[in-house]
Subunit: 630 residues, 2 copies
């Protein structure tokens, strides 16, 4: 920036006024939105976009450009106004805010090229910003990541997970801005304007904290400059602002959250007030045309090398969670974009195998699953292929992040280990029995559930290159390798493992229950009864045609068996898939809160062991319903 | 406590040694568990149970007794040993740890009378402890709540949500203890033994923090006494400990997490070491027999008064979220056990109506949904009837808490507003489209989804007195009142709103889509086609018989329509319910990530409007599949 402050400051003040006008106009036109939450932050955003960040408005996705994550997503109109001001699109578009035909939605989504991750569920953007900052380190770029959060938002625990992760990783390329307007949605925030209270928190969490008047352009510029100079830790700028700044009748007043100005007198009055806030500016200053380009070309990862085929012997006993770790390490060696994230369970999920071979691309989130998944979202949005893994049950801790990852469409590759009652003695708190329901509910998450080491390795590789989010479910107990190294798998596929012309029913299993199904097959065969056995390793999407065909070939009798609660998992997935084919599905699943015990005891106690499958086959073959009703 | 320190301290030291012995023996016998995580905390627990807390070992649920929540649930063997030492049950039971026939599970659950909420998913116990402390205030009891967390656990954002809530509410009846053993599962914690770093955090969050040597019994007693004297804010005791304390070959060493000592030489060596740690104690001191009784009898809430019937006129336009607020306020006036919790959206969920009439029983969690649901768990465990409410999509933030609430079986009554695409312009981040899947996945959560104000009010009252967790889903738009005030509802019921002998299909709807179904009914009727219309206000459990009967009476044609994603919601619930009856279910649901727009545009765009229902009815009546495959 060659401009001196005497030229820069008035130009920025005028931009901030324009951003306020745009935010107010567009929300009034839409008839909904959060204009006062935009007005408090307008000066901070004006300075950031037009005197601090390096980016290309025409190519917002440039891999070396500085990033801005609007964690307080309800200030979307301000974000859109800033990008319009920068020249990314025509300002007239702003008046289409919130219309079904416009990508300028109520809260930002990556349908817009300048949005990395969807925000609007508070406390998530800053977790993604940590991932973006980690990514800069990964690609050896000096791009900086800026993230604006709200003061009300600062009550979310995930904000503090992000804070500690960023501090532990010494992310001095990350700069947060808290728009401390003191007013939440329904009441004052817990800190009101006690900025020191907030600063104490950030400092206690290892950040450099700067308190600033968020409507003093000189002070804002100083703060950004100071943040840029801080080394070894991230910076949080805590800006004292007024909600509705610039609108005399709303400024600093409660009761204005999420309320557009009424078109007509109310809006006109505000616009007239804004007009008076423009200041004389030196001629010839055009900040949008002076935005500095991204400073450096980042490293381009070499093309991925082919992964060597799985090296397992048939019959070897390998837990799928362990095969996951092995696969992840091989994948990491083959493709430098692959990164892994852990929440202090790497020796249980076996992601420590990845850490051993790719320590620079292994990120430790400690026991903070929201920060882990959130950072993965930011990494994925910036070109990495992130595998966050923990116990499957603890991924539910990040359920809202997974929801937002689905909305964002970002390619995070989640892996959850220790699924189901088959973990045994640790008891229900450690058993994931609703993880399939959680991930399958989202319309764009692929859900994979391998039963052996070979399929695990193949599915991990498929997951990496699948566009969008993927969930891989692994199990604690060792299971025999049943597939040969050259077996092929597809997302949306299944394997028919046993079949004959005489099959009286099809048993659809996955993961640990596949082996119960195979045991049931043996027992039934000994008694002269044949069944078809399907390994449904892809739970979402499912292979409808193959399931329907198997059902049709086996007397329209499909039995699902899953180490998961009865609702939302494999039973529901199969039932929906074959519903148009008129096939009934009988479900074996866990139907009550389980307890501690030995894995095999629990599989039997909760109705999903081989003997229950045998009973179910015999029942449905006689035309009776199998499985226990809820 | 009449004992002086010279008698007390050696007696406590010896109890701590016994607790270590029991923890080590029981985990070795079980062949799994976390003995070293017990050993670090044994001195802290010994002092707490036998020189600080007031309780009745024979009646752990006494409403006036001090509470102990073991948030670091993996130290369960220590908890069990302490209760055995106190005389709650026979010490010999400890050797049944983790067996399927014992309630001494791998992590604590309320199957045990001295456990309020299940722990083992880290960072949750302390949120529940906040609820327990709030409850003491509610019932005007001076009981104190103690909560032990791990240092690794302190990375969970929910811990900091609990911290801020407790500080804002000035809970000086809450005392936390952090067992800072410096070792996580897979590596050292981020703070290792930097207790000052942890103290800075707690102080910044408004707590009184005390740093103590967690193996110095005198210092521990001093800390508890100091905490008891602190007024106006909660206290966190940060105790420097060694993981595996007392076992020379494990003490302070990495690699011992979750690992029992091998029976035989390894175990015997440790036991021999423990024997040498007993100290000479004065005769006649029997601390377990000297535990002080609960100090005061708490207030007993008066019997609930009958709620006046709903006061709505047929056809009045009332959003179910608003009716929820009205119902909650009426319920709160009728029953003093009812409390409400908010996450700064009370003016959108209308829980502010409750705050107006019962301000003392309204708890503000600010934007911290995990703390809100966690506090509700603690309140429910102590006899309150808590209604935590927020936008339905933000309840997913607490998904892991909901999972643990289900395991705990505690009667939290969650209400989620703004469900589905029908919220309109705010966009996908604010639309709950997976909340039914989340709650329905749990085998013991009742899921209710009213369509009008009358049914909302009736279902809120039913929820309050239903044993166990309940989820109530409400909508943003206004809908007409269709039920009369004397209509009766049951959990597990449904209403057939339109029926005739000539119905060609049954449309099953709930909430906002019920009105689309009624519109479709009118349109079809105008063309001479009759359909049956069902209001499935109880999504879990569902009325299987009535659904099957409706299906059978309408050509085996059931069409579900829901403002929810296709997986895990009403379609799956109905399909499972009627699967044994051989009825096919055709599903209309949201099948892709939605976007901003007007509510009616979105209902139509995403396939769940009246016109889609009409099309589906016509298609299935001709024998064609309806609805779009995933």
């Amino acid at each position: 920036m060659a401009l001196d402050r005497s030229s820069l400051v008035p130009a920025l003040i005028n931009i901030a006024v324009r951003l306020r006008i745009d935010s107010v106009k567009s929300t009034s036109e839409a008839g909904s939105g959060h204009p006062t939450s935009c007005c408090s932050a307008a000066d901070l955003v004006a300075a950031l976009f037009f005197a601090e960040m390096r980016f290309d408005p025409k190519n917002p996705r440039h891999p070396g450009s500085d990033r801005f994550v609007l964690s307080k997503g309800h200030a979307a109109p301000l974000l859109y106004a800033a990008w319009a001001e920068a020249g990314a699109f025509d300002r007239a578009e702003l008046l289409k805010l919130r219309l079904i035909g416009s990508d300028l939605e109520g809260h930002p989504t990556p349908r817009l090229p300048f949005v990395d991750v969807a925000t609007g569920s508070l406390g998530q953007g800053i977790c993604a910003a940590v991932g973006s900052a980690l990514n800069a380190r990964r690609i050896k770029s000096d791009y900086r990541t800026y993230c604006m959060i709200g003061d009300g938002e600062s009550a979310e625990g995930s904000v503090w997970e992000a804070a500690q992760t960023a501090a532990v990783d010494a992310l001095d390329n990350l700069c947060g801005v808290t728009d401390v307007n003191a007013l939440g949605q329904s009441r004052p925030t817990m800190w009101r304007h006690d900025l020191e209270a907030l600063a104490r928190r950030w400092r206690a969490f290892g950040w450099h904290a700067i308190i600033v008047d968020g409507h003093d352009m000189n002070a804002i510029l100083d703060a950004y400059a100071e943040a840029r100079g801080v080394s070894g830790r991230p910076t949080m700028i805590l800006a004292r602002t007024l909600k509705g700044k610039g609108i005399s009748f709303a400024e600093g007043k409660d009761g204005w959250h999420g309320k557009p100005l009424k078109k007509g007198e109310e809006l006109e009055r505000a616009l007239a007030e804004f007009e008076l806030q423009f200041v004389p500016a030196p001629p010839g200053v055009n900040l949008p045309q002076q935005i500095p380009a991204p400073a450096s070309l980042p490293m381009v990862a070499p093309a991925p090398r082919p992964m060597p085929p799985p090296a397992y012997k048939a019959g070897a006993q390998v837990a799928t969670r362990e095969a996951y770790g092995t696969a992840l390490a091989k994948l990491g060696e083959a493709d430098e974009r692959v990164v892994a994230l852990d929440a202090d369970v790497k020796n249980s999920t076996f992601s420590d195998q990845f850490e051993k071979v790719c320590p620079d691309r292994f990120y430790q989130s400690f026991i903070a699953e929201q920060a882990m998944v959130g950072a993965a979202m930011g990494l994925a949005a910036r070109g990495a292929i992130p595998f966050p893994s923990t116990f499957a049950c603890f991924l539910t801790r990040a359920a809202d992040f997974i929801r937002m990852a689905a909305i964002s469409g970002v390619g995070i590759k989640m892996a959850g280990s220790h699924a189901g009652v088959s973990i045994g003695e640790d008891g229900p708190s450690q058993m994931a029995l609703e993880d399939l329901a959680m991930c399958r509910a989202q319309p764009n998450i692929a859900v994979l559930y391998p039963c052996d080491a070979v399929s695990t390795e193949r599915l991990v590789a498929l997951a990496a290159y699948h566009p969008g989010p993927v969930y891989i479910r692994t199990s604690r107990p060792k299971t025999p390798v049943i597939y040969s190294a050259d077996e092929t798998f597809t997302i949306g596929g299944l394997k028919v493992l046993r079949e004959s012309r005489d099959d009286v029913a099809t048993v659809v299993a996955a993961g640990i229950t596949l082996f119960e199904a195979l045991k049931a097959y043996e027992q039934l065969q000994a008694g002269g009864t044949r069944i078809r056995v399907i390994d449904l390793y892809s739970v979402a999407p499912v292979d409808r045609e193959a399931l329907a065909a198997a059902g049709a070939a086996t007397g329209n009798r499909l039995i699902t068996v899953e180490d998961h609660y009865a609702a939302g998992g494999i039973g529901d997935a199969v039932a929906e898939a074959v519903s148009d084919a008129g096939i009934q599905v009988h479900r074996l699943a866990v139907r009550e809160i389980p307890r501690s015990g030995k894995p095999e005891e629990l599989l039997d106690r909760f109705g999903i062991s081989a003997s229950h499958i045998v009973d179910a086959v015999r029942a449905v073959a006689k035309g009776k319903p199998a499985g226990v009703a809820r």
